[in-house]
Amino acid sequence: MSEVDLYNGLFSACAILIVVFSLMVVLARNPVRSTLLLIMSFLPTSLVYVMLKAPFVGILQVLVYAGAIMMLFTFVVMMVNPRPEEGELGHLRGADPVGTRLVHWNVLGALAVAGVVLVTLVRKAAESLPVGAEHPAEFGELSSISRMIFENPMENPLTVSFELISFLVLVGIIAAINFSRRDPSQKKGTP
């Protein structure tokens, strides 16, 4: 079995897993299950990243995305404890079931049309592009990425924008803390 066959087989298996898990995330009725399925869909994604010569990005996908952001989601889902049937459009309380089902099918139809158009365009565009780039030896590894971002920092625009991202995350943390603080004028014990 040649290397190309191995890559094709691995990519096919990962693609099927990613699509199936993503669909199950959207369709699962229980939010806890959705969150855990999204973590499951990130694992084959990170394997494909490694195959795309991006090992550091694959590690980030597992550590940061699946490990940190999704855990945040899991905690919030367990905190607010939404009822499992709340996710279903067809189970709206007091709503016309035929009407909501119609909305459901309309969304599905619109997305199917968009999907067919987009996939056709994308495949046509991808075939006309000059594919087959040569990669340097350390392509995608941490040393190469950090050299690209932090080399010659006084004149490198990537350094500045990378450091600015840390400010964005800091602002996000401050905003989240500010949201979760209770109003001091409210009486204790009231929600």
Binding site: L52, R123, A133, A176
Partner: protein
């Protein structure tokens, strides 16, 4: 068996993105809407890495954009989930129908 090339990678990304769109438009709870946005972001990140591998060869700009993207995603998740918790504390309900009737007051 699918070939491991740019066209198939982009097709996979489009499918994942549209799956997220479907969840965004049909799910009712705010947490599930945020989760669908994460699925869409996953599809977009996939295109960045695929383009970088198949087209740009010499530099890792796509990997860099991916890092910026997960930074933004982390901030978005923190703020969005914080808002969801405040919303739940005030209204005991995180459905999107309740969120569209904010002017009606608490509980």
């Amino acid at each position: 068996m699918l070939d491991f090339n740019l066209a198939n990678c982009l097709t996979l990304a489009v499918i994942v993105f549209l799956t997220g769109c479907y969840g965004l438009l049909t799910r009712r709870s705010l947490v599930m809407i945020l989760l669908s946005v994460e699925v869409m972001l996953n599809g977009v990140n996939f295109t960045l890495i695929a383009f970088n591998h198949f087209l740009w060869g010499t530099h890792e700009f796509g990997h860099y954009l991916y890092m910026l993207s997960i930074g933004v995603a982390a901030a978005e998740a923190a703020i969005g989930l914080g808002m969801t918790i405040v919303f739940f504390r005030n209204y005991r309900d995180i459905s999107r129908e309740r969120a569209s009737r904010l002017s009606e007051g608490e509980l």
